[in-house]
Symmetry: C2
Subunit: 487 residues, 2 copies
């Protein structure tokens, strides 16, 4: 990046080492915490590419570990495809390639600076030509692979760490290929279940919608998309499960001979999601004191802060060390720093959102107990040492549950049914996600989503419990369309 480009980069700089933004000022609060809580440092001199700092990377790796477990237990195997997609692979997918000629990072090399290809903006153009090579007969199917990689887009809009970046990092994508449409459909349903699981671990509620067919990948049969919301009523796309049908198999020539010797194209499913998940949950949880990390993915589940009084330092530190060993399974961290006061330590660990704080001072030791403080509610409790493990386990579970419960309540309160276009407008204006009956026709879709500036339609609900009338054409329908503004 040259000087001129650097000037254009929206560099965020902390004005102090304190969290000065309230959560009501969501963007500023988020940006300050990225640096203060050691999540990512966006000051790297390429727009939209940030350095993952130790604490943030550890949270992200914990999330990754959870999806590794979910996918691998379901028999989906981890692989890795190269970063550079050669031009000849791009050309197998001409409309895609046309789009990424300006939205992609191309690679030149050698003394003649010849274009070698494009840096992976999405997985399929690197992956599917190899699937085409690997699939010869029905015995080679199904293929059920995933990779966790970074993807790259020359994003021209303003970027936001973890959420809209040029280096889309710690991104997993699953690409499967099947002999029959039915098997692919089963796979599709499986992935919806797996993701529902993953979101629970993140204490991140979402609503999922069936995407209108014109918003699916070209030629695909259908897609379900997940959305998380922000406290200010915006909506964030957070992954999709796509039923590609045979569209990509035809483009990339993934075919096999069936029992009768007839050539058949494979049926495919693909899904993807990544660090946006962390962005989403950071926006949801947390308060004016800083982040709140859900216990299941917290790198440090409890921090021990010894309260040091003169003359009592040794006995307090000894006890703190003892407790830290006993509670090792909870990834406790003993903050022994001498140059910081207990108050300064409280402040820092609250910013980082460590779920539990353990305070031990001379008086606690006399009583053979310690003070346990919850990050989410601030509630303090005196715990007897003999109950330590049991109490910490229970409290962590309770924090996990109540974070999810609280966020689910918020989400539910954000979704508001509307009966007219005027209501849609005013709902969205007041920070709600609007839901209206819709006949599923494109024409009515356009009319609804043109209601207000910046408004987007996010597809229809999966539940279809009630019946009503399309608010545009009045046709009978069980489908509701979600509308909101994007974060």
């Amino acid at each position: 990046m040259n000087k001129k480009n650097q000037d254009k980069k929206e560099i965020f700089e902390l004005k102090s080492n304190q969290l000065t933004a309230s959560k009501k000022d969501l963007s500023e609060w988020y940006n300050q915490l990225m640096l203060l809580a050691d999540i990512v440092d966006d000051r790297y001199a390429v727009k939209g590419m940030a350095v993952w700092k130790p604490y943030g990377y550890k949270i992200m790796q914990n999330i990754k570990r959870r999806w590794d477990e979910l996918f691998q237990n379901a028999g989906i195997q981890e692989v890795y495809f190269p970063l550079i997609v050669p031009i000849e692979y791009c050309e197998q997918n001409p409309s895609w390639w046309q789009g990424f000629k300006s939205e992609g990072f191309k690679v030149i090399a050698g003394t003649d600076n010849k274009i070698q290809g494009i840096i992976r903006p999405t997985g399929e153009p690197a992956i599917y030509p190899m699937y085409s090579m690997w699939v010869r007969s029905k015995n080679d199917l199904p293929i059920r692979f995933y990779e966790t990689v970074n993807s790259y887009r020359y994003e021209t809009k303003s970027t936001r760490p973890l959420i809209r970046t040029r280096e889309i990092s710690v991104w997993h994508e699953i690409h499967t290929a099947h002999a029959t449409r039915e098997e692919a459909e089963e796979e599709f349903q499986l992935h919806i279940k797996l993701w529902d699981e993953l979101w629970k671990d993140l204490a991140l509620p979402s609503f999922k919608v069936v995407k209108p067919i014109w918003e699916c990948f070209p030629g695909a049969i259908g897609a379900v998309e997940y959305y998380s919301t922000t406290p200010n009523g915006r909506v964030m796309e957070n992954g999709s499960v796509n039923n590609l049908g045979q569209a990509y198999a035809k483009k990339f020539n993934i075919k096999f001979k069936d029992e009768k010797g007839k050539e058949q194209y494979a049926w495919q499913i693909c899904t993807g999601n990544g660090a946006r998940l962390l962005g989403g949950l950071i926006l949801i949880h947390g308060d004016d004191k800083g982040l709140i990390i859900p216990p299941r993915i917290a790198p440090i589940k409890a921090v021990i802060v010894p309260i040091l009084f003169k003359g009592k330092e040794k006995i307090v530190l000894e006890k703190a060390k003892e407790l830290s060993k006993e509670l090792k399974e909870f990834d406790v961290y003993l903050d022994e720093r001498k140059e910081k006061t207990a108050g300064e330590k409280f402040y820092e660990w609250e910013i980082k959102g460590v779920p539990l704080r353990i305070e031990i001072g001379p008086k606690d030791i006399e009583k053979d107990s310690f003070v346990l403080v919850r990050r989410d509610t601030g509630k303090k409790e005196i715990i007897s040492n003999k109950d330590a493990k049991k109490k910490i386990k229970e409290t962590l579970e309770d924090i996990q549950d109540s974070l999810l419960k609280k966020a689910t309540e918020m989400l539910n309160s954000q979704i508001k049914d509307a009966k007219t276009l005027e209501e849609v407008k005013s709902n969205v204006k007041s920070g709600k996600i609007s839901r209206v009956f819709w006949c599923k026709e494109g024409e009515c879709y356009d009319k609804i989503s043109e209601t207000a500036e910046g408004l987007e339609g996010f597809g229809s609900d999966l539940e279809k419990k009630e019946e009503g009338h399309c608010i545009i054409c009045n046709k009978k329908t069980k489908t509701k369309l979600y509308l909101a503004k994007s974060y």
Copy 2:
């Protein structure tokens, strides 16, 4: 990559689904096994970039997990720096940038195809400008970070999967910064200890040498380099620990104010290694039947092959499933495939180098036992079910130990002292690593390493037990120089 480049790519194709090469034909054996054992697929249409297949990737991730554990237990934290190094960072290291202008992959983007930077060929030009931003006072030190990434070089020599690639994958590098030279020196020694540990887990013996100062990074104080060997007496560079002194801190402006308010540059250590380790251990272990994966990093430590006789299928499969559950901790895999015979299964798992095979047939069930077969020695043993866990644990440990022992004996037998240049030549010709007394002067170094075509000097031993005379100038010395040909 255009057609012309593709023609130049040395694509390796299997002629059959069988391992036809003997290990004596090392390169062909290695290439065949990359595909047959599901390690990597080199047929991806960019030279030197291969697809990691599930089995290979799992082994590599097991190796990574081990280094994560080693580094993190030593307090070194994992981070991630962006892929693209902007031109302005490159220009802080002009000699480096000059070199990579032709050896690197540059990135263009936007409608004007402006050069954005270079794809990370090594870590420091992305990392050190950020260190410069983070380090203000002594309190900001030490920084002890590592990342595991892929690096990219436009390698013009012929490539070899895992060993010489354009996408250097699953590569870890550690970069530290310290306030004093002494602290950096301690860190340097620590990393040598950590690596010695890692190599043991891989059952991969190595010899380590002090690099001559003229082969170290420009301005560095010193380096220790690790080499593994191949069965045909070649030598493979496999990582280095570098004491950078203040050279890079001066280039990248990593400095702090000391107690007296005087500006001081930081002292730095860096190290790196990656998938070459797997390449190295594959070359060492294995035989004409295929790979042998050391138990500590094997994704499957034992495979259960049920021996199915007509009418007895059900009882055999039931028993096999029971055993597979009981032995879960050993990552056992039950091969239930019906379309393959037991013999075909044996053949496949031997190729993949699974350390143990468990055979269960009707007769074994009658005797409440199973047959345990070692991959390394082929030795069969009848094990009573009640001893299963204990026996498998012991046998895996024994395989790990004996693989390391055997490889260490090979390494020791490969190193041969020489007293004359003629002896150096004939040692190397007969597949040995030659070692000679050397005065540590560059002039003598050149004379020794010019002895034979392709011969390289690899630096001097760390032990310095005996005294002798430099074979060129006859000066007294305790230092020996290692010489061999590179793989």
